[in-house]
């Protein structure tokens, strides 16, 4: 995935020095005291991130279809598949939160900006996929940690979520965004 995003970055003329702070609402997976997060914080961060990423990915797909790569049906199919997996992940995580009696994150995220320039659309699309891949990796680690330290209830529910997360990761590796 990292190789594909690098390729994309080069093709779209983006410099290596780009800073990926949360500039335009895309959730950033980087976290400094990951080890010290509570179970609730972990689940909540994942639930919120995947919900938000699902939203963004929908818009990216729309922009690809209508503006950026209108001819590339195969690519759109791949994105659609990815979209479904992210939705599953978002839902599973939210369910886990509810199971533990925690409050799920509010879905009232301000809708992403729609009228971007051509270049900014490309840039945002790249960032969404990049963050999605690192969030998927983080989710895998989060669920591993939860699985190891929690009860069997977590295991039953976490397994499908984990499988979804790793499937999603592999999907992207095979070229979900290989332009």
């Amino acid at each position: 995935m990292a190789v594909k995003s690098d390729l994309l970055r080069q093709k779209q003329g983006l410099s290596e020095e780009f800073s990926y702070d949360e500039v335009d609402g895309i959730p950033s997976s980087g976290v400094s005291k990951w080890n010290e997060l509570s179970d609730e914080e972990r689940l909540r961060a994942n639930a919120s991130a995947f919900h938000s990423l699902h939203c963004f990915l929908g818009i990216v797909l729309k922009e690809q279809r209508e503006d950026l790569t209108p001819e590339d049906g195969e690519f759109h199919e791949a994105l659609l598949s990815l979209l479904a997996q992210v939705e599953t992940l978002a839902e599973s995580t939210k369910q886990l939160l509810l199971m533990f009696g925690h409050v799920p994150p509010s879905n009232g995220i301000s809708s992403p900006e729609q009228d971007l320039t051509y270049f900014k659309k490309k840039l945002r699309g790249y960032k969404v996929l990049l963050e999605l891949s690192t969030w998927a990796l983080r989710a895998t680690r989060d669920f591993t940690k939860l699985q190891k330290q929690s009860t069997r209830i977590t295991s039953t529910m976490a397994a499908p979520a984990m499988r979804s997360a790793s499937r999603q990761k592999n999907q992207k590796k095979r070229g979900g965004y290989g332009r």
Binding site: A2, Y20, S29, S32, W34, N35, L130, R138
Partner: protein, 361 residues
């Protein structure tokens, strides 16, 4: 006894005086650094251009010096052989006027930087080296940037060309950029490396690799190992392993990839053959494989050979043995030479062996 002590004292004292004199003569000597291949001029103190001086290098006279150079010494296209302590003495008094330590070298070229994390997710370390030697003292400055943030760098206490950095956050998409600047008296040069957090992850090899035969199983070997002790949290960041093994006599390896398990039983070993075994480790999600562990040798369990009963025979019996009985009786024969009366038996054994050889030929 007293004489020895006295003479020992004298020798030590003499040595101290010599060293002190040398030190004194170098005190006030300045170091002059020059580039290899360049033309060098050394100036004798603050003497005017009319002065006449004599130059010595490391105590011996300098060859091929122009007389009209005044207080200067010119050396053309210098190489490492001109390194030394140069002293100039004013003529005709012979007074020592100046001392210069000449060191010839090169300005540094762009350092080559590599980084690795064997302690993920705690931190990483970077090493660097110069592609060409400078021959003169060179210092290094390291800076690490992560996105828009400058990170703190710890110098390695032992390795001069290594430093350690703590990871400020994980699962980050911001690239790390490590800048190394090499500086010496002749110039400076910078090199850098930019990388993603996950691309530099490479654990140390597995430790305490042990292979044991399994009694009763001539084709099995039980291999166990430990995760590398430098990997901080193998529970949350599990490792997967790669095992390779081959009999010593063959060149091709057999491979086995294992997830989350620190033992494996080889079940297809060739009976009685010595094996060489190695294991490597990798994080289950990111990074690259470690180097191979130290190779260990092991042989599967071998069944105890059955006891062969050796019957002792007398001299007379041995002399009568025919060639056709040679092979089966060879062993017992040899065994016999150990027991009985030596000389005659040895002789008959030799005769016997000679007969065999003759027959074979």
């Amino acid at each position: 006894m007293a004489n020895i002590v006295t003479s020992a004292c004298c020798v030590v004292l003499a040595a101290v005086v010599v060293v002190y004199a040398q030190r004194r003569s170098q005190q006030g000597a300045r170091i002059q650094y020059e580039k290899i291949g360049s033309d060098v001029t050394m100036q004798c103190g603050t003497l005017g251009s009319e002065a006449s001086v004599t130059w010595k290098v490391n105590g011996t006279d300098v060859e091929n010096r122009r007389e009209d150079d005044g207080p200067r010494l010119a050396l053309k296209q210098v190489d490492l052989s001109v390194n030394g302590l140069y002293s100039c003495f004013q003529n005709p008094t012979g007074e020592l006027k100046d001392q210069i330590i000449l060191r010839v070298g090169n300005p540094p070229k762009e350092p080559i930087v590599t980084c690795r994390s064997n302690t993920y997710p705690k931190g990483f370390y970077c090493s660097w080296h110069l592609p060409h030697p400078t021959y003169i003292p060179t210092e290094f400055e390291v800076s690490v940037r992560h996105g828009l943030q400058d990170l703190q760098v710890q110098k390695d206490p032992i390795h001069k060309n290594r430093c350690h950095v703590k990871l400020p956050e994980i699962f980050s998409n911001n690239k790390y950029r490590v800048n190394v600047t090499a500086t010496n008296a002749l110039g400076n040069a910078s090199g850098f490396l930019a990388f993603d957090e996950i691309s530099i992850v490479k654990p140390d090899p597995p430790e305490k690799v042990v292979a044991n035969p399994i009694p009763g199983n001539p084709r099995k070997l039980e291999v166990t190992w430990n995760s590398p002790s430098t990997w901080p949290d193998v529970e949350t960041f599990p490792l997967k392993y790669f095992l390779r093994y081959r009999p010593l006599i063959l060149d091709t390896w057999q491979h086995m990839e294992l997830s989350d398990s620190t033992s494996y039983t080889i079940t297809d070993a060739y009976a009685g053959k010595e094996y060489i075994i190695q294991v490597a480790a990798k994080d289950t999600e990111i990074g690259t494989w470690s180097d191979w562990s130290v190779a260990i040798h092991a042989t599967p369990w071998i069944e105890e050979p059955k006891q062969i009963i050796i019957t002792t025979t007398t001299e007379a019996d041995e002399n009568e043995t025919t060639p056709s009985q040679a092979s089966p009786s060879a062993k017992p024969q040899v065994g016999d030479t150990l027991g009985s009366s030596s000389a005659a038996l040895t002789l008959s054994a030799n005769l016997f062996i000679t007969c065999i050889i003759v027959l074979i030929i």
